[in-house]
Structure formats: C-alpha cells, structure tokens
Amino acid sequence: MTSLIRNLDAKGLTGLAIVMAVALCALLAPWIAPLDPNRQDLLATVAPPAWQEGGSINHLLGTDTLGRDVLSRIIYGSRVSLLAGVVAASGAAVLGAVLGLFAGYFGGWTGTVIMRLVDVVLAIPFILFALVFMTVFGPSLVNLVLAFILARWVQFTRIAYGLVLELREREFIQACIAANVGHLDILARHILPNIAGPLLVVATLELGYVILIESGLSFLGLGTPPEIPSWGGMLQEGRSLINIAWWMTTFPGVAIMITVVGFNFLGDWMRDQLDPRTAGRDAVAGAGGGVR
C-alpha cells in the first residue's frame, strides 16, 4: 500500500482526489450542503449564481424553477450518481467477467451459448431495454442499477472472452496445465490478473455511462423519483430553460464530467499499478536483448 502511494503520478493523484471528493460529498451531504435540497424558495426561483446580477449569496450556484438550491442539489445528487455508478458498473463487471472467463477458458458448448447470448443482448438498444424494464418494474434507483447490470455485462464478457482466448494459448498457461495447476487456480492466479487492467478501464467508462443514462431516464420520468436529487434529473429539469438559466444544466453537467474524468484517471492509474511492467517504471531498464 505504501508503495502504491509512492507510485502516485499526477494523473493518479488527480483521479484519486476527485473520486475522494465526490465520495466525501456523498457521505457528508447533510453537513456540507448549505440548504435542504428539496426546500423550495418560491420567492427566489430561477435565481442566477451569486456572482451574477440578481444573484444572492444564499444560493451560490443559483436556484431552479422551484427555487431549490442548485449547489445543495448537486452535493446530494452525488449520492445517486456514485451509488448507481459504482454498484451498477462493478455489478456488470463481476457478472460479465466471470461469464467471459468461463466461456473463454472452457469454451465448448456452454461457451458458445454464452457468447450467442452476448450477441443477442448486444443487439438490443440499451435505452429501449431500460425503458421497458423501468416501465414494468417501476422507476427506482434499485431497478435502474438492475437494468444496467442486466444489459451491460455483455461489454465485459466480450472483452474478457477475447483476452482469455488469446491468453489461453500462451505458453505459461500450457505450462500450468502440464504442472497440474488446477483450472480454478489458473483462472484466478494466471488469467484474471492478466485481464484485470482492460476490464478496469471498461468499468470506469461504464461508470460514466450509468450516470448519463440515469439522466436520460429521469428526463422520461423513468429515472430516480424527483424527490431524490440526481445530476441527471437536474440536467433534464433545466434542459428547457437552457437559454435563460444556463446554471441549471451547466453545473450538474460539470459535476458529471469531473466525476467521470476522475474515475477514468483513477482507472488508468490502477491498471498501470496492476501491471508490473509499468508499476515501477525505473525497474524496466536493463531488460536487454538476448532474443532475436
């Protein structure tokens, strides 16, 4: 762990700082947020940010159409985004990676069935699937996460499958089989660590996608309920007023952007740390020739 911290580069540090900040917002929202996110101030609706003409110090980033404080809603919104993003992306990653490992390593009939299923799921537009799912089971955060996992595991399966197929033919895996290393051991010790990097990067990209999808569904009234503030919901509420009240969409948008970038940076850095070839960069020198 200490060596991990020592290896923090600018990118890793930025990513870690952003993710920690967002996590802290989510955790400590009631203490950090200046106002109740659902408190309506009908005397100050659509107020601009504090530094603009007509703005007030009470509403640092302005208010929305119901006079709710944008800053407070963004702070509370991080809870939904973070929870939905992390749970949905890691759920999809675990399910998808396990199925991909299994299909790629053992192959055969089950492997073929899994990969055909992947083809089918990939052919369904995700937004359509999410709409139907949320309509049938009702709009809630849990259902959103479930819909995401059920539809997005294929991204991980596809990538894991391809990587495993290539790795399986590598000679060190053959050497393991020749030395009586068990199949589960091969999967856990020899294959998973070698595909974890790319999967991690996909997971951070998917995480950003969940946050965006949540906003899309909220627009259709199928996302999280309006009393729970979420960045996506704020985006959609402000969409129609973008010409007069830019702050209603811009600030949640910036929050989404910063969070996604933070997770991507952190993912990239973690991938490098997982790989001994890039972990301690100084050690790389000295691996000279010897092979033509």
Binding site: G288, G289, G290, R292
Partner: protein
C-alpha cells in the same frame, strides 16, 4: 570494383525518457556494385537500424542521425542519403528493401498484382496494362508458378515462401542498384530458405544488384556474402572478405560468435564455447571497448579506451587492441 553504397562514420541515436541513447556509433561500411555485404550480429547490435538509416526509414521523431554520411552512387551521380528527402527520392527506384516478415510488409488488402503494379506505375510511369504484364514477368522471374493467376491473390492466400518471393518481386520491380535484405529467410523453413537464397543470387547475377544482407546466421553469411561486417552494440567490430573472416576471425566477438554455433560437421564430443553473459542494453553500454564486459581477453586498456579499426593483412579490419595477436 566501384563503391555503390558508402556509409561513413554514421551515428544514430534514440530519444528516451532519460535523454538520448546512442544506437549506432561511427558505423562505416560499404557495398560494391554487384556484390553482397553481409551484416551479422545479435539482437540490439544495430544491423537493422543501419538498414533503416540507409533507406531513410528511421522512426521519426524518436530517432535521428547525429553524424556521418551515407553516399549512394548510381548512374554517374552521387547523393548523400542523410540529407532531408534524399533517401525518399531513391527509394523504390534505386534502392529497395526486403523484410523478414513478408506478411507484415505486404499490404493485406491489395492483391499481389496491385502492389507490384503500384511500384511500376509510380516509378516507371507504366500504364495499367503494361504494369500488369510486367508484374506477371516479375513474378515469373522470382519463380512463382502460374503468375497470371497469382497476381489476383491477396498476401494471405500465398504460402510463406511465396509471399517472400512476391516481396522480392516488388523490390526488384525497378531493377534497383541496391537491395537491402533484412533477415529475409529467418522466418522460412530451411528448404524454402534454400530456394530464396538461390533466387537472390541468380537475380544478383542477372541485374548486377548490390546487396546489403542482414542476418544472424553464419551459414547464410558464408553462402551469400562477398564481404562481412560484424556488429556489436551499435559499432562495427570487424569487417573484411567473408572467407578470411570466417577462417581467421580477428575480433574476440567474431571468434565467440563462430564458436557458439553448432554445425552439422561438428563432432558430437565437442562442446560449444558460448560467449559469457548477455548483450547489455544500449543505455548501459560499457565504456571503452563495448565488448569488454564479455570478452575473455579484456584488460585494463579495453575498459578505458575504445579501440580503433586495425587493418590486418588483406582488407580485413578489426576494432580490437589485440587484433592480429589472438
């Protein structure tokens, strides 16, 4: 015999995280008209880099020529290929290159005929019909059977040996004065290697091409080269006529290289005497003679001063303080 290619004191370096790493240091070698110079050495010795420098194909901006000259003499004129755009003007027309792995050197999405035709149309300004006829002739001359139908095939539809022949056909399309062959038979089986070596020799005698032949295989050197240059860690350590280098190697590295290779004639009781250690990375090249860390004869002076080329009898030269004594 007149010089076709004269590389003098060529230095090339790579940019890396920790500054510039010299990859070639004062390389001098020459190819005579219609003759073959074999360049031999292990991975990282700079033999392929030398070829790329001649062809003007050094990876930019990661590497650059720091000094020296590469003179190409064709058709009565002389040009320095280290000058900007100079190599590009001669590439394809006066000089061409054959690579080790034809599958990566050929474009997978064009037929063999289209790829030869492209060269002919660009450099010889032939029309489509004429180019196709010439392509068929060329494929026939490199020993590809039924060339009329083969020109319609894509690279992946040919066997390894046939692909290498197709690449040779592209390389000789404009009858270049200089052919650079970088390990052209390393990826091939011995029986196919034999075919390709035969082909290169017969093309050379027909066209009078000078060949710069890069390989790690002493047997191929013995078979193909009139003269040899032995490279180690970016320097030429020994050069001269093939026969004298193979019979009386003067540099300890050449000697070690020859003793490391098992031969079919060798008695089964003999043990190989390998060179100790392994090739250091370029960024950690030793001072003085670059071979001193692995040399059985190294002494004080070798670690301090880089030995110059000593001219031995005939035209054999070796960069060793003990040249002629070992």
């Amino acid at each position: 015999m007149s010089l076709l290619l004269d590389v003098a004191d060529l230095s090339v370096s790579f940019r890396s995280g920790r500054g510039r790493v010299p990859a070639l240091r004062g390389v001098s070698l020459s190819v005579k008209k219609g003759q073959t110079l074999g360049v031999v050495g292990e991975s990282g010795c700079g033999k392929s880099l030398t070829a790329l420098a001649v062809m003007g194909l050094l990876p930019v901006p990661d590497s650059g020529i720091d000094g020296g000259s590469i003179m190409l003499r064709t058709g009565g004129s002389e040009s320095d290929l280290t000058k900007t755009n100079s190599a590009r003007r001669h590439r394809g027309k006066d000089m061409a290159m054959i690579f080790q792995e034809p599958m990566t050197a050929l474009n997978p999405s064009f037929t063999i005929g289209e790829q030869i035709g492209e060269v002919l149309r660009r450099h010889e300004h032939l029309g489509r019909q004429a180019a196709q006829e010439r392509s068929i002739d060329l494929l026939r001359s490199v020993g590809i059977p039924a060339p009329e139908s083969r020109i319609k095939l894509y690279p992946h539809e040919l066997s390894g040996g046939m692909r290498q022949r197709a690449m040779i056909a592209i390389a000789i399309a404009c009858a270049p004065a200089l052919l650079i062959a970088d390990e052209p038979t390393t990826a091939l089986d011995v029986t196919i290697q034999a075919q390709v070596l035969d082909l290169l020799r017969s093309l050379q005698s027909q066209l009078g091409t000078g060949i710069l032949f890069i390989t790690h295989d002493m047997g191929v050197i013995a078979e193909m080269a009139d003269e040899v240059a032995v490279m180690y860690l970016g320097t030429v350590v020994e050069k001269g006529p093939t026969a004298s280098i193979l019979e009386r190697p003067a540099h300890p590295y050449t000697q070690g290289l020859i003793r490391s290779v098992p031969t079919i004639e060798m008695s089964r009781e003999l043990r190989l005497t390998p060179i100790a250690g392994s090739v250091p990375s370029l960024s950690r090249a030793p001072s003085g003679c670059r071979f001193n860390t692995r040399c059985p004869h190294a002494f004080e002076k070798c670690r301090e001063q880089e030995p110059p080329m000593h001219v031995l009898d005939g035209s054999q030269q070796a960069a060793c303080w003990l040249a002629g004594e070992l």
